[in-house]
Point group: C2
Chain length 377, copies 2
């Protein structure tokens, strides 16, 4: 039964299903046109219902925590790349999921992890599938393609009993520092070349390396070609956010996720509108601070239809208070105490993490469904 | 049955019970010596078990969300000040809690809220207790003591049927910008004077205003006197954090809360240790950035005993990765992949919010209890 926005308890996450479906379609078409498989990253949505839109066959997905792996495996998802360097203590839990058919694959980039993986396989009497993480831009973790340790790890995995090397993977997180589409396209090409080079070095050493997995939402949308790559990973495109809009890979009108909030006070002496979405409801992510348009803690949109209100952003947050500066005292009349607004997030992954679920809107902005989320570790 | 830290799934919150009890005792003694009642704010801990330490009689507490009010009321707490401007739509839920005996009091600072409160009391056939929010430093919400609207609100509340004005309250959030104890003491005195002045103006107008409630952890610890004040509110002192240590109101050794994390990779080319506590596990709060010691996303401590490791902080976070820069490549040997560390939080309220509970340590750093938390709205 459809509900109205006004009936929702705020702050809460509202999701524009039509925009989400359009974003999902765009990335699926992109992967198809580049001739690679898509392995959506579910760390942004952490939702079974949304996961089923992203991966209609419930196969070939990416997660960032063991909790997500368990949640999606319980929900019937299979072929799950757990794309954060594996902590050895989590291997028994991975083995349990695999015994139930989930095919969770682990990621590693260091000899200690290889050693522990081999030990666990022997101890638990099971097999493991693994990917080697490659560093293409110094962003985070992984081995550079030129690092001699890459081939050593490959040999270690190949020689260990019960371990299968699925391939090499990278995340070009450095793309978040690009300033325009030309830079993004160049970064995507660097990501492709260096990850393909890593696979080439392993293969030249006689190590079987079938997969080459690359991705980040910006490089996925900017890449001109993906020759040599087998699959593309991306996550935040499902909702998009202000940071992605600032990068130029989506429009603000594509952002499918927002926080519904209520005006709770008028601080007229400071021309300050106070809302019930603060640092916990919006997150303290300030990623747009370094972009051409600093969106504060989020841009303000009309509750009824999600249209951005020009010039309004959340300029300051406390734990449960958000503050919006108005240009004129007369502007308060448009936002009475008790009225609702929507806040578009800087970083959808961070903002969504504070909530237990999504209120899903149809194209008439009626609340038609409630979708779940997992959280924690 | 006691467990070892090594058995915990990371990232998780660990709480040093001895330090917490010492922090609680310090604030209780402070309120007693200042001659005022203490109304602990439970928004930091959001935990029934910790709430019972903070308010042993389960009476006279503060909360920041309706969810907290419900959670603590269900747990037997009474006399609950819901210290965020009330959204009119939440009044029926407040009335339900009060019908069950919780005595939840609402906060307001504007005529629309007074109007809605009176309407709801009539509609629901119930009474409400209310506080008027006073602004002492321009920090957030509330009416300045000189604002003519203060007396108007007081009259509106006094004349409405079923509404009882409990008093005036303020939060001197501006104290977070102070740089030393002298400034904090001056800010505490400003908070006291201005809140007492607001009560005086109401009383002079013939409006009954029994309560004068002030507080923030820094001003509570810095105030030289609280003449005219009836109660003190504070929350983060239960754990303290790096921001409070930077303000000078606690020592780093007093911080009772930390995030237990696992080393998951060595990025040797960048002398970068990678841990499984990232932006979600630590929060993106960067409040120490403006202080003398910028702690990044948190200081690093030894897992076994919580002692800070000199010179190490989390310098960068992604969603599930934290990065720690080491001074020398040889330092990696001390932190093998799979080993644990603790991260002290910049802002305990924000960091704790990502978790479902606390692993509680006794004085030998054994895990002796698991305490609950509520979250969401």
């Amino acid at each position: 039964m459809a509900r109205r926005l006004a009936e929702l308890n705020t702050p809460c996450l509202v999701l524009d299903r039509r925009r989400m479906q359009s974003n999902i379609k765009r990335m699926a078409q992109r992967a198809a046109s580049l001739g690679v498989a898509l392995r959506p990253h579910l760390k942004t949505c952490k939702s079974l219902e949304i996961g089923a839109y992203l991966a209609p066959g419930k196969k070939r997905v990416t997660v960032s925590t063991l909790r997500e792996a368990e949640y999606f495996a319980d929900g019937g998802f299979r072929d799950i790349l757990y794309a954060v360097s594996i902590a050895p203590a989590r291997l028994p839990a991975v083995a349990r999921l695999n015994a139930a058919g989930a095919r969770v694959q682990v990621l590693l980039d260091n000899p200690e992890a290889v050693r522990q993986l081999a030990l666990s396989a022997a101890d638990l009497g099971c097999g493991f599938e693994a990917w080697i993480e490659v560093d293409v831009d110094g962003h985070r973790a992984g081995l550079e393609p030129e690092d001699p340790q890459l081939v050593e790890l490959g040999r270690g995995l190949q020689s260990a009993s019960g371990i299968e090397l699925r391939g090499v993977m990278t995340h070009a997180g450095g793309s978040y520092n690009c300033r325009n589409m030309a830079e993004l396209e160049a970064h995507a090409e660097q990501e492709r070349q260096r990850c393909v080079a890593a696979a080439g070095r392993l293969r030249a050493a006689g190590i079987r390396c079938p997969g080459v997995s690359v991705g980040s939402t910006p490089t996925a949308l900017a890449a001109a070609r993906l020759d040599g790559v087998t699959e593309l990973r991306a996550g935040v495109y499902v909702f998009f956010d202000l940071f992605q809009a600032g990068l130029g890979v989506c429009r603000v009108e594509d952002i499918a996720l927002s926080v519904l909030t209520t005006v709770i006070s008028h601080k007229k002496s400071h021309r300050r509108l106070i809302i019930d979405a603060g640092g916990l409801a919006l997150s303290k992510d300030r990623s747009t601070a370094g972009q051409a348009l600093d969106c504060g803690y989020g841009l303000v949109a009309r509750a009824a239809d999600g249209r951005v209100i020009s010039g309004l952003s959340v300029s300051k947050v406390n734990q449960e208070h958000g503050m919006i500066e108005l240009a004129h005292v007369s502007d308060f009349d448009a936002y009475p105490v008790g009225s609702q607004l929507r806040i578009l997030p800087n970083h959808a992954c961070m903002t969504a993490a504070a909530y237990e679920g999504y209120s899903v809107l149809d194209s008439d902005d009626r609340v038609v469904e409630r979708w779940s989320r997992c959280s924690g570790w």
